[in-house]
Amino acid sequence: MKTITHVIQDPMGLHARPAGLLAKAAAACEGCSFSLTFKEQTVDAKRIMGLMKLGAKQGDTLTITCAGENEDAAAASMESFLKDNL
């Protein structure tokens, strides 16, 4: 299990577009599960609707736990995805 954190830079927060892209990035790592925690709510990062429901805003910290096959590589690619898109 590997845990990463990310502070949201996008002024619109975790809105529809980054939520959709994030779910796609998570789904691309088929052997891994990603759970995303924000303010005591934990959702499956592969589910767009769960991500949008969090209402995470700019400056909020997201914690993502990645577990499964090649979890180190999956966590690293998730980390770079978040830097580039959120």
Partner: protein, 163 residues
């Protein structure tokens, strides 16, 4: 029709159907002037250029999230389809102005039940595009068999799902 057809090809009537949440003209999602929708980032779907003023439930299910601003609603159908209805583009910026909600997060709803009313003329007058994408966020699990394009009345079949 042979026995194998009967076994493997369900008649059209047995496939789940998502009905039109609002009257208008149904167009391909690619015609929506917002890449989040047109590039299918949220999933596959369809869009309606509304001529009506009310969004109704497109299937039986549960309101997964009613946005406080009333500009969008997501539902989970009884059989697990995750449907997002976004009333107009960039309309989050209206902060609820011109929208009235008739259901709340967690409510169980029946197909055709009112969810949101909106003042189409007022929203258009403020310069917003009212096109309303209807997206199946888990279309990987629920492939769309047929999209019914063209003029639709509220409650008409809109998407036939291969499930």
């Amino acid at each position: 029709m042979g026995i194998f057809d009967k076994l493997f090809h369900k008649p059209q009537s047995e496939h789940p159907v998502i009905t039109a949440p609002v009257a208008g003209t149904a167009v391909a999602l690619q015609e929506v002037n917002d890449p989040t929708f047109s590039q299918e980032i949220l999933g596959k779907g369809i869009a309606i250029r509304p001529t009506g003023n009310q969004i109704v439930a497109p299937c039986d299910g549960k309101v997964d999230m009613m946005f406080d601003t009333g500009h969008a609603v997501s539902l989970i159908s009884t059989n697990g389809m995750e449907i997002l209805i976004h009333v107009g583009l960039e309309t989050v910026q209206l902060k609820g102005k011109h929208y009235t909600t008739h259901a709340k997060t967690g409510d169980t709803v029946k197909q055709g039940q009112p969810l949101i009313s909106f003042d189409r003329e007022a929203i258009a007058a403020e310069g917003y595009d009212l096109i309303t994408p209807i997206v199946l966020c888990n279309s990987d699990r629920f492939p769309i068999l047929q999209a019914h394009l063209g003029a639709v009345s509220s409650g008409d079949p809109l998407l036939t799902i291969d499930a």
